[in-house]
């Protein structure tokens, strides 16, 4: 059972309250009509599938019903951090220990136990 910290509710809750929704940070093409078949297919179907650190979208389905992001390890399943929509991860494959925080918002989210 995973325990997941919802960055909106600010609580650590059981996995069953949540649904995983796939890879996070996929931007919709700004001008879909201008996409080639290649670009459109890549946007719709091709996803990162790393053996290691993965950023993914989850929804707190039976809680606040809000979407948020999770950084999780796909072999150990350890959840390294959760963060709100629109925010960027502090832990990435390039910086597995967390990149140095640049602004106050990062610091605040760390203090609040977002790194569940």
């Amino acid at each position: 059972m995973l325990y997941i910290h919802c960055p909106y509710c600010g609580e650590l809750r059981e996995e069953e309250e949540f649904h995983p929704k796939g890879q996070a940070h996929i931007a919709r093409p700004l001008d879909p009509d201008a996409c080639s078949d290649e670009e459109w297919g890549d946007y719709l179907f091709f996803r990162d599938n790393p053996r290691g650190i993965h950023h993914e979208l989850w929804v707190h389905a039976v809680g606040c019903r809000k979407f948020f992001n999770v950084t999780r390890h796909t072999v150990t399943y350890e959840i390294l951090e959760t963060y709100r929509m629109g925010e960027q991860p502090t832990i990435t494959a390039e910086h597995p220990e967390g990149r140095p925080s640049r602004d106050a918002a990062d610091q605040a989210s760390l203090r609040e136990g977002v790194r569940a």
Binding site: E15, W40, D42, F46, T74, Y77
Partner: protein
């Protein structure tokens, strides 16, 4: 190869079964082969077997990082069926079904293929409409199938709760009598032994760490036991396909998920067919040892951990007990997980890639076991000729950019 027979069994009994020949050799890798298969599961070993036996390519190596059939081949619930909706998928799985029917004789290895039939239950009016559509499509494709009503289902499976009082009452089912189960380990071992007899080198505990690519043409692989050369490389690595593709600079539209299964303590014979339900989401059969073999859906998140989560176990068993209240006090013996490489349209990828000579056979997701001989056969044909076999051609990776998807989601029962 020493052939297996009833007579041989008696003969070896006289020497206390101590002189059986090893089933396959443990060779040292050669410098070069005509074809390298990466992945020693059922599909990979089968590909090597058909290459050597039918297509005259005998200088073949199968490279496996662990042991034979240690991945999904040994982790599935062994169901074999071919009742898929779309023509392309039906052709592929029915090709496989026909090979299953003669496989034990072909390999001289008892794969315990038992055509005990598969039921796909319908619990809603829409389920029943989909079942009728699928059975009609199957029959037009020459695949056996019948639509049963609740009474027909009850006659086939007396222990199932088919009453109107059930939370999700059974309204009927599709029934494929030729479907069934097979012994999964025996499939890997049978293909390995038969391929070895045709001169295929099976290299276990050899891990591919990279591809040798020059001017867009593959010419070998790097392994932990040195470089091995070949102008044709077929990757059949299930859940790890994406990682392999990454080594060649190719992106696949796959996501790897844990899929788990469990078996109960052994019981006396109580269930002589396979029951699958899309709606309450579980499937069950009874093995020849007597234990109930149970499976259900994937864990929703990506994972490579070869283990499943407890909430999924709970949901699976809820579904089974909903259908079979009689099993409510059966204890579960073992539970395990495999890593399935799921495709967006729930159909596999059998394809060339942008690297010349490098082929992928992957994306089987939750339903690869049933396709083992068929997938292996058409993939071997494609590797031998350098052109995709007509049955394999629609499963090209290009379909995700052209839009010619083969959407089998939900259409073919619970496993997708």
């Amino acid at each position: 190869m020493q052939r297996y027979s009833g007579f041989g069994l008696v003969k070896h009994a006289l020497s206390h079964h101590e002189n059986w020949q090893r089933q396959w050799r443990n060779p040292t890798p050669k410098k070069a082969y005509d074809v390298i298969i990466v992945g020693g599961g059922g599909h990979g070993l089968g590909t090597a077997y058909y290459l050597a036996k039918e297509f005259g390519v005998k200088n073949v190596a199968v490279i496996e990082k662990g042991w034979l059939g240690g991945g999904n081949t040994a982790r599935n619930t062994t169901i074999v069926r071919s009742n898929y909706l779309w023509d392309e998928a039906a052709a592929l799985y029915e090709h496989s079904m026909k090979l299953w029917e003669g496989l034990s004789q072909d390999l001289n290895y008892n794969v315990m293929f038992s055509q005990r039939g598969v039921l796909n239950l319908g619990h809603t009016l829409q389920d029943m409409r989909d079942i009728q559509r699928r059975v009609n499509a199957n029959r037009l494709n020459g695949i056996d199938g019948e639509v049963l009503d609740a009474k027909g289902v009850q006659e086939l499976v007396p222990i199932m709760d088919c009453s109107k009082n059930a939370r999700y009452p059974v309204l009927g089912a599709s029934w494929q009598p030729r479907a069934g189960v097979a012994r999964h380990d025996a499939v890997a071992w049978g293909f390995a032994r038969a391929a070895d007899a045709h001169g295929v080198d099976i290299l276990q505990q050899t891990e591919v760490t990279g591809f040798k690519i020059r001017d867009g043409q593959v010419y070998g692989v790097h392994t932990n036991r040195g470089d091995i050369e070949a102008k044709t490389v077929g990757c059949v690595a299930a859940g790890n396909s994406g990682v392999l593709a990454g080594m060649a600079g190719i992106k696949l539209p796959l996501e790897s998920h844990p899929l788990q299964a469990l078996v109960s303590e052994p019981l006396k014979p109580v269930l002589d067919t396979v029951v699958m339900s899309n709606h309450v989401h579980g499937y069950i059969s009874q093995s020849d040892k007597g234990d109930l073999v149970i499976g259900a859906g994937i864990d929703g998140y990506n994972g490579y951990g070869q283990r499943g989560s407890y909430p999924t176990v709970e949901h699976t068993l809820q579904a089974i007990v909903e259908m079979f209240p009689i099993f409510s006090r059966v204890r579960m013996n073992r539970q395990w997980g495999g890593i399935v490489d799921t495709c967006p349209d729930a159909c596999p990828i059998l394809s060339k890639t942008k690297v010349k000579g490098l082929y992928f056979n992957c994306g089987w997701g939750t339903g690869g076991f049933k396709a083992t001989p068929g997938s292996a056969h058409v993939f071997a044909a494609s590797l031998a000729k350098g052109e995709m076999h007509p049955i394999a051609a629609p499963f090209s990776i290009d379909r995700f950019n052209t839009g010619a998807l083969i959407d089998e989601h939900g259409a073919a029962g619970v496993a997708h």
